[in-house]
Amino acid sequence: MILRGSGHKYDGSWRMVLYEADGAGKCSPKLAKSYLDEEIQVYHEQRQRELVRLHRALFAGEISPIGFFAGLQRVDLRYLASCVRLRPAQVRSHLTPAGFERIDVRTLRRYARVFDIAVADFFAFTELADGLGAQTEHAQDRLVEQIKVFVGPA
């Protein structure tokens, strides 16, 4: 997985269709900023903090790579179990490092598909310094991954 120094920066450009009543009470749609617009950047900062916390827990051996991605993408146990066609108890065991060691490649592929990553992303984290960008390419149905690192924006 590619880690970037800072999290996503929201540019304030998001607009959505909201229904609003005018002075005469007529209700019609208009393209407007979400009234939670300020919270979008807060949300990204929160996700960045969560990434740091999960990364620390992963490298401290408290959670498995599956636990890392499940936490990062906020996928709950039942949802994940249903997507990978396993029992919740099995998925729960895969969230721990000991349980992760018992997963076969076929199952890892299924997890990788849910998280939209390559199987290789479970095993390697690439940290990009500021000013560097990267492009990834998958092959063999997400089993292997090629990362091209270049100078410039991501």
């Binding site: 996503h8 229904y19 609003e20 009543a21 939670l36 949802y79 249903s82 997507c83 939209d116």
Partner: protein
């Protein structure tokens, strides 16, 4: 934005944004088929308003989900049934089969709609890219690498890779409508929208009110569901803490006001629908009900904003929560109790609103 040069799109298809993905997709497909209809009309005829307190499904922060919509595909079914529009609406066996079918339709100039996971819609901003496999988009063009997608949440046609569509169309997730493909097969020469609207109003009213016995069994749906939700609000502070509490409260507010609800938990859009039907029929009674619905929608909006104010006060850093709570427990508790009272009042207002609407719709025929 899409590099439209790369993908051939269906001639004559007009993309338009909407506040709800399913109603937006139905409207866009119908307009392409020659039926000029507004999003509120589709929402109303499709019996859009709903309330489910899904105590058995946990949201991203661990709080139960609140659903303000019916099962994906419900609006397509209701609009088809009440207007005599022949929609092909089927979950195909495999994604390959669904994609082959979609390819053939696009080549024939018929845009199909698919029910997909928002997480894979890479053209959406990151804060919207969550695992939610009940999002409707129309496929309006293709080449060997991907599709031109008409997503009601996106300002322009977008591009989606084949691999992404394949993964998004069949997730195996709970409540997902895997490989659901919908398209317009035939539209009748004339659609009696006012009559369809009256029948839909009766249906929506029945679904929201539920007679006493079923509402005891399905205590998490309709008016009974709003009451259950109102009661649950009081227990939040003892059940959740820290960042999950903050995020869960904000997530609820987003659901009521923001993400795909068009504001006011869809009540404002339903108000717009009632206004449109009242104008078509020249009914002053219906116009009065529309005013009540719009005012009620505004109240939902105010309540969700109150939820945001309460949530924003909670610290964003887990370590600060305990100190903060020592000082701020009482105001938060009072705020949640006040909100709970507001939602209890909403249940009563809605009971009267849906009852009056059902009675008026029966009179209108």
């Amino acid at each position: 934005m899409m590099d439209s040069d790369a993908v051939r799109t269906i001639e004559g298809y007009t993309h338009e944004v909407a506040s709800h993905c399913e109603t937006g997709s139905v409207r866009n497909l119908l307009r392409h088929a020659g039926v000029d209809v507004s999003e509120p009309m589709v929402f109303g005829v499709g019996s859009g308003p709903a309330f489910y307190y899904l105590f058995f499904v946990k949201g991203p922060s661990g709080m139960p989900l609140v659903a303000l919509r019916n099962k994906p595909g419900h609006i397509f079914r209701q609009v088809g049934r009440l207007c005599g529009i022949d929609f092909f609406r089927r979950r195909l066996r495999t994604t390959r089969e669904a994609m082959a079918r979609a390819d053939a339709l696009i080549d024939a100039g018929i845009p199909p709609a698919a029910c997909v996971d928002m997480f894979r819609m890479k053209y959406l901003p990151p804060h919207l890219r969550v695992h939610a496999p009940m999002h409707f988009v129309a496929l309006v063009g293709r080449d060997e690498h991907g599709y031109a997608v008409s997503d009601p949440y996106h300002p322009a046609l977008a591009r989606l890779g084949r691999e992404d569509l394949e993964a998004a169309w069949a997730t195996g997730a709970p409540m997902a409508q895997d490989n659901l493909l919908v398209y317009v097969r035939r539209v009748p020469p004339r659609i009696d929208w006012p009559r369809a609207a009256a029948r839909a109003m009766r249906r929506t009213s029945r679904a929201m009110l539920l007679p006493p016995v079923p509402s005891r069994i399905v205590w998490f749906a309709g008016i009974a569901g709003i009451r259950t939700y109102a009661r649950a609000l009081r227990s939040w502070l003892s059940r959740y803490r820290g960042v999950p509490l903050r995020e869960g409260m904000l997530f609820n507010a987003v659901g009521f006001e923001d993400q795909g609800t068009g504001g006011g938990a869809f009540r404002l859009m339903y108000g717009a629908f009632l206004q449109e039907v009242a104008a078509q029929r020249g009914s002053e009674e219906l116009a009065a009900l529309a005013r009540r619905m719009v005012e009620h929608g505004r109240e939902w909006r105010r309540a969700s904003r109150q939820l945001v104010v309460l949530a924003r006060a909670i610290p964003m850093v887990e370590d600060e929560y305990d100190d903060w709570l020592r000082e701020s427990r009482q105001p938060l508790e009072d705020g949640l109790a006040e909100l709970s009272g507001r939602f209890m009042a909403f249940a009563e207002i809605e009971r009267a609103l849906w009852r009056d609407l059902g009675a008026l719709a029966a009179k209108l025929g």
